[in-house]
Every structure is written in structure tokens, then in C-alpha cells.
């Protein structure tokens, strides 16, 4: 069945100012195939997909779809031809319901005399949710009030709803936990049965090896190779991606664990989590495992003063503190990389430089009038770009012209520059390639060695198991288990997280 070519990209190139983002690249996808696309941050994967989808215009090369050469003028053409795309960054309308989002641009089918039959539309939505067994979703849920994971599922369903022959998924699982990844895989298998092809972009190579039939690798804007997933192992794939041998993804070093720096007692936020107690020691990495929606991020947000806790107590160095705002938290030596890079991380209009120094700009300012010392600021930023290996042309380019993974690195850089004593990392390596991931893990090790303490929230069990000294597992807003690194296994984490 999988021998008819559906999509063929030949020698396509695209340049932006200062970079050739896609350089003479190929890609071939069969009907009913799940085709993995992997590569480092900034390798040009998203750009290539945008070229296929008609969001961007290619400079040269040709694209064939369904036997014909195509020149889409915009996504509307691509959708009509039978290609839909789930973007790396959410493209849902926040103020709309799930149902309204899913059929956005396709309302025609529910129209009669120019009026949309909302009832029919909502029923169609519910039918899709039922078909794919997504019982946690409701057709009338408001996107702005839904979790990232639910939003992601809505995006998937929107792509499916258009009856596309090819669905491009740009890092669809970066905000999903394992349970939801399983759901997504089930959906993909259902699609394949209908002979739909899927392009699957991910930095999680295990997923690629699980779900894909073939995988194409890109590096430094160039096409490297395509392989049958059955013919290669993980190790080979990793070295294709990074272009060298990479042995240890979790370079955990033993650091000296000292006195308690942060103690949380019976922290409660009604409707989100309750009676959460734990302590964090100097030099320790404390992992928080659990599913999306278990309340881990909410706990972190309360500690950092983004939200207010209803009950409970927070102690820093043994002293009870009231943290009313993030600025309070920063004064107490806290730092936090939030989960949602787009909504609460990057400031799109500002440069890489401005974004990076924002959390503690006063470090580079004179006393009194707070005039910025440009030289000091630049040298700190340049050094950080080097240590984090961020792919930028220029520190003054706006942050939104970076690839997703590199944006994430800038945000991590922002908080390392603020030199906190306690750093909260909420899904810090989301969307980050294997090579950089191992770098960031190495940095975490380096920080705790210097006496910092880290709270690591991650939906990736391997990351928690690989990096944390102690692990707290949360479920339904409560701590259900705490264990030391030595005693933890995938099975233990999994069983407590699922309950």
C-alpha cells in the first residue's frame, strides 16, 4: 500500500536575512506513511513545512503533491489540495470554543442561507471527539481556559476535520505527557488506516522510532538522509541528528546536598492542588513527575508568586515568607522558566539581547537613574549565547525570528543570567534537540554544583529519572509519592502518576 508517492520536495531553498534556512533540500512522503522529520534546533524543519504548506514562498526548487507540481499561494490553497498543518506554536483563537476553532475556515459545510448552524457544527465536533475517543474534551470548552494539552488535541482534531491527505505535525507532543502521547499515537494509527499520510516532527527520538515508518534527517539547513525506521537504532539516529557521537543525554553528576533552602507546607489552591508539602535542599535537583493537569505547574506558579495560594506556608532559609508577585520571588532569590514560552516567556518584539537580560536588568544598570551599561550587558549576553550554544545571527535580531528551540534557550539564558539560588524549570527542554538537551542537563549539573537548587518539572519521565536527586509524583492536585533517585523506576513513576 505504501508505495505511491504523495509528496515530493526537490531541491527546495529558502533564505531569510542573514541565514539560508533551507538549502537545496529533499523530502519524499508516501501515501499512508508516517514520515519522521528530525534535526537540531534551527535546522530548518519548520521553515520547510511552511514552504510545503504555502505559508512561505520558496526561493527555488519544486514541490509535487499528489502527482502534480504545486505552487501554493497561501495555506488556503494547501488546505484545498488536501494538506493541513499543526503548527509548532498554537494557532487557535483564544476567545473561541473548541468547536468554533476546529471548523474555522470550513464553516461552509454547516451553512444554510449564509447562516451557520451551530448545533450541527457542535454535533460534528462531538462526533469527531467520539470517533477518536477523546472523552476529556468538550465541544464548547473555551480555548483560553483550556490546558495546553487539550489545546493541542483540538489542533490535532482541526487538522483531521478537513479530510486532509497529508497532515503535517510540527512538534505535536512537546506539550503532552505520556498518556496524551499515547492518545495521539492512537489517532495517528487511525488516520493511517484511512490512508492519510503524516509528517511527524519531533525532538523526542523514541517517539519517532515508535510511530514513524521512515525518517528524514536535516542538519544546518541541509538534507542529510532518509532511513527506514526498522533499519536503524536510537543511537544511530542520535548521531545522524547531532552529526557526532553523543553518549550521555543525562550527564548527572553527584553534587553535595546541603541544608534546606525552601520548605513548602500544606500549600493549597482551591480547585488546583491541596496540601502540597516538600522541602528543597541546597545543591539538589528535585523532580516533579506526573501527568499534565496534575497540578505541578500550578504549585510552581504559586511559589513564584504568579498566582496566589489560598492556604499554606512557604519558608525560605527557615523563615516564613509571603511571595505576592514574581518580583517578590526574584528578590528572594527565585527564578522560573515557565511552561508556556509564547504566552508567558518571550517578548516577541524585543531583541534576543533585551529578552535575555530582562529578569535582572538592574545588574547592568547604574545606581539611582538605572542607566543601562551597554557594554556590560552585551558581554554577558554574548557569553551566555556561547555557553548555551544558541543559534543566532545577531544578538539584536528579534527573538521571534529564532527557531522554537532557540527561543527556549534564550529564556533559559534569561534565568541563568539572573543567578537565582532556587531555579524552577517547568518543562525546560521542551522542543529542544537532543544535543542541546544534553548541554542543558550538563548546565543544570553545573549550577547545583555551585550551590543552586533546582525544581525540575517535566512530563518526560526519563528526564526526571535521569536528572533529579529526589522525585515527587503528583496526581489530581496532590502529592502521591516521594522517592529518592535510587529507588525510582519508570514503573513506579508510571503507576503513581496514573493511580
Amino acid at each position: 500500500m505504501k508505495d505511491k508517492v504523495l509528496l515530493s520536495v526537490k531541491g527546495v531553498s529558502k533564505s531569510f536575512i542573514g541565514v539560508k534556512a533551507v538549502d537545496n533540500v529533499n523530502l519524499e512522503v508516501m501515501e499512508g506513511e508516517v514520515h519522521g522529520v528530525v534535526g537540531e534546533n534551527g535546522a530548518g524543519k519548520s521553515t520547510l513545512m511552511n514552504l510545503i504548506f504555502g505559508m512561505l514562498k520558496r526561493d527555488s526548487g519544486s514541490i509535487f503533491f499528489d502527482g502534480q507540481e504545486v505552487n501554493f499561494k497561501g495555506p488556503a490553497d494547501a488546505l484545498k489540495a488536501g494538506i493541513s498543518m499543526i503548527h509548532q506554536e498554537s494557532s487557535l483563537v483564544q476567545q473561541f470554543t473548541a468547536s468554533e476553532n476546529i471548523w474555522l475556515g470550513m464553516e461552509e459545510r454547516f451553512m444554510k442561507n449564509g447562516i451557520i448552524n451551530n448545533r450541527a457544527r457542535d454535533e460534528a465536533t462531538q462526533a469527531l471527539f467520539d470517533e477518536f475517543k477523546l472523552d476529556t474534551l468538550k465541544y464548547n470548552m473555551l480555548i483560553s481556559e483550556s490546558s495546553i494539552a487539550s489545546c493541542q488535541m483540538v489542533e490535532v482534531i482541526r487538522a483531521v476535520a478537513g479530510n486532509a491527505k497529508l497532515i503535517i505535525m510540527d512538534e505535536p507532543t512537546s506539550s503532552l505527557s505520556e498518556k496524551e502521547v499515547a492518545v495521539l499515537f492512537r489517532i495517528i494509527r487511525q488516520l493511517v488506516e484511512k490512508n492519510v499520510a503524516v509528517i511527524y516532527i519531533s525532538h523526542k527520538l523514541d517517539e519517532v522510532l515508535t510511530i514513524c515508518d521512515r525518517v528524514s534527517v536535516y542538519r544546518d539547513s541541509k538534507y542529510i538522509t532518509t532511513a527506514n525506521v526498522g533499519d536503524i537504532n536510537r543511537h544511530q539516529l542520535v548521531s545522524f541528528v547531532v552529526g557526532r557521537e553523543l553518549n550521555n543525554l543525562y550527564p548527572k553528576e553527584q553534587s553535595e546536598i546541603g541544608e534546606t533552602v525552601l520548605e513548602v507546607k500544606k500549600l493549597t489552591r482551591y480547585g488546583k492542588f491541596r496540601d502540597v508539602s516538600f522541602s528543597l535542599h541546597k545543591g539538589e535537583i528535585l523532580g516533579f513527575a506526573g501527568l499534565q493537569g496534575a497540578g505541578r505547574s500550578e504549585v510552581a506558579e504559586c511559589i513564584f508568586g504568579i498566582e496566589k495560594a489560598d492556604e499554606g506556608e512557604i519558608l525560605i532559609d527557615g523563615k516564613s515568607v509571603r511571595i505576592k508577585s514574581p518580583s517578590n520571588a526574584i528578590q528572594h532569590g527565585l527564578g522560573m522558566v515557565t511552561e508556556d514560552r509564547l504566552r508567558s516567556g518571550i517578548i516577541a518584539q524585543l531583541s534576543v539581547l533585551c529578552n535575555m537580560t530582562l529578569a535582572k536588568l538592574e545588574k547592568y544598570c547604574s545606581k539611582g537613574l538605572k542607566i543601562i551599561n551597554r557594554k556590560k550587558e552585551i558581554s554577558a549576553v554574548d557569553e551566555n549565547i556561547k555557553t548555551l550554544q544558541i543559534k543566532v545571527n545577531n544578538r539584536n535580531q528579534t527573538i521571534d525570528s529564532l527557531s522554537g528551540g532557540n527561543q527556549q534557550k534564550v529564556i533559559i539564558g534569561r534565568w541563568t543570567l539572573s543567578t537565582p539560588r532556587i531555579l524552577i524549570l517547568d518543562e525546560p527542554t521542551r522542543g529542544i534537540d537532543v544535543g542541546s538537551k544534553s548541554e542543558i542537563h550538563k548546565l543544570m549539573g553545573h549550577f547545583v554544583k555551585m550551590g543552586m537548587s533546582i525544581i525540575l518539572i517535566s512530563s518526560e519521565m526519563e528526564e526526571v529519572l535521569g536528572m533529579a536527586d529526589r522525585i515527587i509524583i503528583m496526581r489530581d492536585g496532590q502529592v502521591v509519592h516521594t522517592c529518592a533517585r535510587e529507588d525510582a523506576t519508570q514503573e513506579i513513576l508510571g503507576s503513581y502518576a496514573l493511580g
Binding site: 533564505s15 531569510f16 536575512i17 542573514g18 539560508k20 526561493d59 513564584f304 504568579i306 508577585s325 514574581p326 518580583s327 520571588a329 526574584i330 528578590q331 522560573m336 515557565t338 504566552r343 508567558s344 516567556g345 518571550i346 517578548i347 516577541a348 518584539q349 524585543l350 533585551c354 530582562l358 529578569a359 535582572k360 536588568l361 538592574e362 544598570c365 537613574l369 538605572k370 542607566i371 543601562i372 551597554r374 534569561r414
Partner: protein, 331 residues
């Protein structure tokens, strides 16, 4: 060869980053051909002088807009301050007190707006439309419907006086422009303001005290409004009851033409000054050419449209140009 190309690119970039300036030059050249009176020292100084009030408002507004706020009541407030100060002057109060009260009303008025917006989480656009009515109403109430005329010399000096042959208000405008450029580009406060305009939530998480900064920005804009009110009143030697009618819209237009977008996160103070000059040059030119004054508004509208088109399309063009050059170099 290569060097030549590089330069064209540089010139084009400069032109598009300063499109208001280019428009200004083009229109000025046309006007100096069309009217012999345009390119005279007296007329030019007059144009700049007339642009000052708008520029002083616009510079403050550049900060306000780029930090993600909006205020449509500034014009109404300006008119109200003018009346308050003129009435006090007629009543014989000491200038220091008058200026003090003027500043207090300006700062207080905009902080009041900020208070309502921040406390009740209201959209600034609508709220300030409402408070604008209130300010105008108060102005009519206290003035009794007559513009208080016959102000003292010190007051007139602010609007009419010259230092070394150049009107005082031009000095005011230049000084304010320099201070604001510095404030926005070089200080922590400026950077924080832009961050707030770009992404409020992210800014808060970075430890920026949003509330405090919003009040500071409102206060600064309030002070600018007071200065503008003093210049307007002094220039006409009487408070202008209708001074505020179009001011907010003119200000926003000048700011946007100058390259500060409505969406926040980006500020261009020199651009704002150029934008104000552009608007003033157009109406001055039309005056000199004896065009019916109703056409002035049409012309203003057209210029705004052209500027915005240049803004959006120009960036595209320049990017294509650059990419082409870079690929040529690479090959």
C-alpha cells in the same frame, strides 16, 4: 560592484526605517517649488513652532503606546488644564502655584484613568473615551462657556517668547525628545516599559512591577500634557476651549506615522517628532497654497494611509532585497 550594491541596500534600509522623514523631505521639496513662501526662515520656524504642542504630546504618547497602554482623553485633559491655569492666572495666583496645580491636574487626571483601568481591569480605550467626556464637561463647567483671556506675561512667554531668536517651545520640544529617547533606549525603566507593551504576562514574570510602572508612565504623560497645555494657552494668550477636540487622534496619527506601532513593544521618539512635523508641513503647505481648509483633513488621512502602507510593504521589500544580496554574495 559589490560595494555599490551594499550601499543601495543600506540607503533603502535607512529610507524605510525613516519613512516619515523621507515623506517629509519629498513633500517639503514639492512645496518649496509650488510656493515661494514655503522655504523662508520665518515660515519654517513657524511650522516647527506649530508642531511643538503636538510633538510634546506625541513624545509622551510614544512611551504610553509602546508600553501597551492607550489613552484617548489626553486632548480633553489638555484643554481642561489650560482653562484651570488661565483662570488661576486671572485670579492672580503665583506662577509657581499655577504650574504646580497644572502639573497636579495633568498627572492626577491620567493616574485616575490608570487607577480605574488597573483596579477594575477595564479596557483603556473605552474607559478613557469616557473620562475624556468628564474632563471636557468639567472644563465647560469651570469656564462657564467662555475662554478665559488676558493672561499675564510670564504665561504668554511660554507660548510666544523666544530665546536667541528661536521660540521657547522649540527648546522645550527638543529637550523633551532628548530626555525621552534616553529614557526609553538607555534606562531600565524604558526597557521595562517596552517589555510590558510586548508581552505583559512575560514582563510580570520577569519581576517587573506592572502597576507601579503604569502609574509612572501615566504621570509622565500627564506632565507632558500639562506642558502642552501651557504652550497652547500661552501662544493664544487665552485658554482654548476647543483645543482638545482632535488632539488625541492627531497625536496617535503622528506617533504611528513616526514608526511606533499601536501594538506595543516598539518605540520611536525621533520618528514621532518627524511625524508631527509632517502633519504640520502639510497643513502649512495647503494654507500657503490657499486650499480650502477642509482639504487639510483629507490630506492628513491620505498621509497616514501612505505611511502605514510604506511601513508594512516597505519592510517586505527591504527584506527581499537583503536576502538577494546575501545569496549573491554566498554564491
Amino acid at each position: 560592484m559589490k560595494n555599490v550594491k551594499f550601499n543601495t541596500e543600506k540607503i533603502a534600509t535607512f529610507a524605510l526605517n525613516n519613512k516619515a522623514l523621507i515623506l517629509l523631505l519629498v513633500i517639503s521639496i514639492i512645496l518649496s517649488i509650488a510656493s515661494p513662501f514655503f522655504l523662508t526662515g520665518a515660515n519654517l520656524i513657524n511650522v516647527v513652532r506649530q508642531a511643538c504642542v503636538l510633538a510634546i504630546m506625541g513624545i509622551g504618547f510614544t512611551l504610553l503606546l509602546s508600553s501597551g497602554s492607550m489613552d484617548l482623553s489626553v486632548g480633553n485633559l489638555m484643554a481642561m488644564i489650560g482653562v484651570v491655569m488661565a483662570l488661576m492666572d486671572k485670579a492672580g495666583y503665583h506662577p509657581t502655584l499655577i504650574v504646580g496645580v497644572g502639573l497636579l491636574v495633568g498627572i492626577g487626571g491620567l493616574c485616575f484613568n490608570t487607577f480605574l483601568v488597573q483596579t477594575f481591569d477595564l479596557p483603556g480605550f473605552i474607559l478613557t473615551l469616557a473620562t475624556g467626556y468628564i474632563f471636557t464637561g468639567i472644563m465647560w463647567l469651570i469656564s462657564g462657556g467662555q475662554s478665559p483671556a488676558g493672561i499675564n506675561d510670564w504665561f504668554k512667554f511660554i507660548g510666544q517668547g523666544t530665546v536667541l531668536g528661536i521660540p521657547l517651545q522649540i527648546y522645550l520640544m527638543v529637550i523633551i525628545a532628548i530626555i525621552f529617547t534616553f529614557l526609553i533606549k538607555k534606562t531600565e525603566f524604558g526597557r521595562h516599559s517596552l517589555a510590558m507593551g510586548g508581552n505583559l504576562k512575560a514582563a510580570r514574570i520577569c519581576g517587573i512591577n506592572i502597576n507601579k510602572n503604569k502609574y509612572i508612565i501615566a504621570a509622565i504623560m500627564g506632565a507632558c500634557t500639562t506642558v502642552a497645555a501651557m504652550v497652547t494657552t500661552g501662544r493664544a494668550a487665552s485658554a482654548q476651549l476647543s483645543a482638545g477636540t482632535d488632539t488625541a487622534m492627531d497625536t496617535i496619527a503622528a506617533v504611528v506615522i513616526g514608526g511606533t506601532p499601536m501594538s506595543g513593544g516598539i518605540a520611536n521618539v525621533p520618528g514621532t517628532v518627524i511625524g508631527c512635523l509632517l502633519i504640520q508641513v502639510i497643513s502649512n503647505g495647503l494654507n500657503l497654497l490657499d486650499v480650502n481648509s477642509n482639504w487639510h483633513k483629507v490630506a492628513k488621512g491620505v498621509v497616514i494611509i501612505v505611511a502605514i502602507i510604506l511601513d508594512v510593504k516597505g519592510t517586505d521589500i527591504i527584506n527581499k532585497l537583503r536576502v538577494k544580496n546575501q545569496d549573491k554574495k554566498a554564491n
